[in-house]
Structures are given as structure tokens and as C-alpha cells.
Symmetry: C2
């Protein structure tokens, strides 16, 4: 499935969160990751993220899409890291 992960993490923990997300997904913009990932692998990422985050303070939203039909990605301004998962 295709996922978009966005996080809002305290500065003290953000480097670890970034490193963890980059192991599984592609960084596309400040605090935003995208990619195709299986349910099982995503569960593993979530478990590992939960170990480095403070769940009472940090926030992660994961948008999961079983398919990307009828969907599109539009860039305004510069593209920090060109990807094409949604094509």
C-alpha cells in the first residue's frame, strides 16, 4: 500500500525519528515521508518509532491508501526530493 507519514516531534527526538522513518520510507519534505510499504513492515516501523518518541508529546499521522487510483500529487514551488510513488 501507499503511505504518507507526517510527524511533529520534539527537537530532542526528531533526529532519531528521521533516521527511523528513512529506513522504511522516502523523505520528501520537512517532516514528510512517502512510499509503498506492506502492512507488516509498517507495523514494524510503528513499533520502532514508538520506542524513540514521547507518545504524550509527539504526533505522527500515517495516511494509508490501498491504491493510488484517482489520486494525484501536485508540487507548488520547489520539489525537495522528487519521487513518483503515485504514478
Amino acid at each position: 500500500m501507499f503511505v504518507i507519514l507526517v510527524y511533529d516531534v520534539n527537537e530532542k527526538r526528531v533526529a532519531k525519528a528521521l533516521k527511523k522513518c528513512r529506513q522504511y520510507l522516502t523523505w520528501v519534505q520537512n517532516s514528510v515521508f512517502e512510499g509503498n510499504i506492506s502492512e507488516a513492515t509498517l507495523r514494524r516501523l510503528i513499533l520502532e518509532l514508538e520506542k524513540v518518541l514521547d507518545l504524550s508529546e509527539d504526533s505522527v499521522i500515517i495516511y494509508k491508501f490501498q491504491n493510488t487510483w484517482y489520486s494525484e500529487r501536485q508540487i507548488i514551488g520547489i520539489e525537495k526530493n522528487p519521487v513518483d510513488f503515485m504514478t
Copy 2:
């Protein structure tokens, strides 16, 4: 259609970008907005954003989904602004 908008905007311009996006979409997390919006209204938002941004430096990604079937939204940690567009 359902959209997720994420931006990475220079501090000098981010207040204006935030204000503009909030007129059309719901703020859900730092630099992240969601909502249901028509193609025409989204075009208007984009035109207005282009006036406040520096397109050679700032970056906006807009994910557009004609429907949210087979999709899901998962929160890890706290939810900064509870919304339910994807239900």
C-alpha cells in the same frame, strides 16, 4: 475531493501561508492540512498561495484523492487537531 497539503516554507512567509491554508483546509499538525475541497476552490487556494510564497525557495505538496475508499488514517502519539475527513 480529499486533499492533504504539506508545506515547507521560509519562516519569513510561513505565517501568511498558514493563514491562507486555514481559510480553505483544516490544520492538523505542524505544516499539514487536510480537507474536502472542490477542484475550483483548490485552484483559488493555489493562486493565492503562489502570491505569498517564494516559489524558488518554498515547497508545497498537495496530495489529491478523488475518493478515500480503501484508505485509513492512523495516529501515533497525540492528535494535535482531531478531524475525520477520511471516515
